[in-house]
Point group: C2
Chain length 418, copies 2
């Protein structure tokens, strides 16, 4: 996947932030090292374990996890870690380590211990994440040895391998590295993410690792991360399914010597860069949805209590998603899904726009001149389709990104077995 | 579709009620007449308009409608009718008459007026229903003339044509006729239904018409209908989508001379027959789900506030539905969907059974002997797959019927256009 001008910020819905220079996508901020290797979890022998670590003892961090009641051993253990001062995260792919009981927790503990020992840091400062199939036990010795080797092989150029070691059904790696110009000098900001299925419009339905060499206190970092996640991973849906493993980790090392302090213009610039970074990664997850061919953004406007349920109902409607797959501007299904979400709402004033073309209101289809029909047809066939549903003339807005439902999703998910 | 012993009650989940004899599926109770014909709504020239009517002026009725905020003109007008004493219902297929504004209401009004005039009854005693595509205007003259012709052609043997005139994407008609033995003599009970997509686990996500020649007061009929719908159409999901048009109408004519009075044993027998009738029709809708190959029933047991959300989350998970399509006992996806529905629940005691085989608990897969694995494999490949998820050892139960998500659904819904 490459954008119109080769930049990372290739979605029409993500503005490249000002004062930001793109670096090599796998580059890490100063003071960070990473590694990714194959330790034998994936039968395919592809990369399946990775570590990213910060060499600065003053590092601060923030982390967010899935809201599913059933969580991976990694999520259980990470929640017990020193989440405001993590130094490293170890991740395996190919096995979710969920519903694996005490043995699963032992494996996750061994991953942490191997990395902590190899790096000579407190185990409480190591986070852990997993992604893959549910309910299959892992071989503790194999995984612990993989974690130890990855920690031993950490390098400044390991970001690329790390970003590949976290993938499962993804068709391409999702990563970027930015240089952000702040008042006292430049800082670096990088992230690696994965996610293609079991992705829901609910926080953190994937894995994402963020690094910066800016100095950011843990409280500020937590606030900035939450805000960016709200506008990115919280607003996407591949299939409405909230995973058991979703985790976002951010570590700030401070090696640049530049501080991002709360309430400053620098904080605003840094936040804008983080926001654009996670937003583009989130859109890429949807674009890489299992079997997906295109992404749609729907913006819903209306009463505050209606906009989010309506956006989610439309994004998760298999009828709407099949229509998107068929390049069909099927406004009837969009209105039906909206009506289902808000049974008591007055929808008599609604208006639906696709690619800026007013296609329908409560009274039905708008008569469209041939030129508009041609634009609509071309728009529906694009990689990114823009939709707006006004429930009322004014009000709050909620946006959501979703993909089509195609044969690829069915094939992948009816043939992929436990 | 035919059952193991050729009876209507062919689902393993529907017990044939005692004291009930099956009649020819298209037979109507005494005093009822019906018709179905092609008036030109469907380009295919298949039957697209039908009327069912009761010749007894003392007829009572009950009706239930969709909860979608966006409703068809037919639903709007039916809600204004004399719902406790309907004599007739006129139905068109091939066009949902939704989002068609005042012109759509004019069409629905004309359908009612044509039938009322032809039958010489008050228009307030005529219900109306529509099903088909959303947002396409109908030709008032064509439809009104069709309704008039159908009313003119009513006959005692018209039940079969009527049941075919209400179909859209259904692969087979859904209908049955029963003779129910009550203490004072036999009564007849018949029903015709349609539904294959845009079917959600929420009341009345389809059309169903029920007739009986028992005498049932309107209050009792309403109570019996609601109870039966609760256990049938409320418990099914093809795609989680609540339609704009769903309607259930029941008319009791009284011609048998046998009364079903509230609180009697006769009421219990009649209610059991109605319950089994609607339950089998509901299961058939799921079995006829667009592209569906098999039906699963999931029974969830646990805390009262958890069982229904969990049942619905599992039934609507595209991952679970794809696994069902692939005959894959993918318990991990079932647990993930359950956990998503009840974020704060303690799931440490859960147990999942498929075809009575204990396949998993919170600690992962149960070790299964080869014989059990073979039974599990055979069960997953069957037409009807039974699942039970115990969130706790005791508690309330909720059941749901759902179908698989296969390529047929995607093909049908990405090629079927507005």
């Amino acid at each position: 996947m490459s954008g119109p001008n080769g930049t990372f910020f290739r979605s029409r819905w993500v503005d490249a932030p000002r004062g930001v220079r793109e670096l090599d996508a796998g580059a890490l901020p100063a003071g960070f090292r990473a590694a990714g290797l194959a330790c034998g979890i994936k039968p395919s022998r592809r990369l399946d374990i990775g570590v990213v670590a910060c060499d600065d003892d003053a590092a601060t961090s923030a982390a967010l996890f899935t809201r599913n009641a059933l969580v991976a051993a990694a999520v259980e253990l990470s929640r017990e870690a020193a989440l405001d001062r993590l130094r490293a995260v170890v991740v395996n792919s190919g096995n979710a380590n969920v519903a694996t009981e005490e043995q699963g927790r032992e494996v996750a503990r061994a991953m942490i211990a191997a990395v902590a020992e190899e790096l000579g840091i407190d185990g409480a400062r190591v986070g852990v994440a997993s992604t893959g199939v549910i309910g299959v036990p892992m071989d503790l010795a194999v995984v612990a040895e993989g974690a130890r080797r990855a920690a031993a092989e950490l390098s400044e150029s390991g970001g690329e391998a790390f970003s590949e070691a976290i993938l499962t059904s993804d068709r391409w790696p999702k990563r970027a590295s930015l240089e952000v110009q702040l008042s006292a000098g430049p800082v670096r900001l990088s992230a690696q993410a994965k996610g293609a299925g079991m992705i829901s419009p609910s926080f953190a339905t994937m894995l994402c690792f963020v690094q910066t060499d800016a100095a950011v206190d843990a409280t500020t970092l937590d606030r900035l991360l939450r805000a960016a996640v709200e506008r990115s991973f919280e607003r996407v849906s591949v299939d409405g399914q909230l995973s058991t493993n979703d985790s976002v980790f951010a570590i700030a090392g401070g090696r640049s010597g530049v501080t991002v302090a709360a309430g400053t213009e620098d904080e605003r610039v840094f936040a804008a860069a983080l926001d654009a970074l996670l937003r583009q990664l989130a859109v890429e997850m949807v674009a890489d949805g299992e079997g997906a061919e295109r992404v749609a953004r729907l913006v819903v406007r209306g009463a505050v209590e209606a906009v989010d349920p309506v956006a989610r109902a439309v994004a998760n409607s298999p009828l709407v998603k099949c229509a998107l797959h068929g390049k069909d501007p099927n406004w009837g299904r969009i209105l039906q899904a909206a009506g289902q979400a808000v049974p008591d709402a007055d929808l008599s004033q609604l208006s639906l726009f696709i690619e800026g073309i007013h296609v329908a209101n409560a009274g039905g289809a708008m008569p469209l001149p041939d030129e508009a029909l041609r634009r609509l047809e071309a728009g529906m066939a694009g990689d990114e389709v823009e939709m707006r549903l006004d429930l009322a003339a004014a009000g709050e807005e909620a946006e959501i990104f979703f993909c089509d439902l195609g044969h690829g999703y069915v094939s992948f998910n009816s043939e992929y077995t436990t």
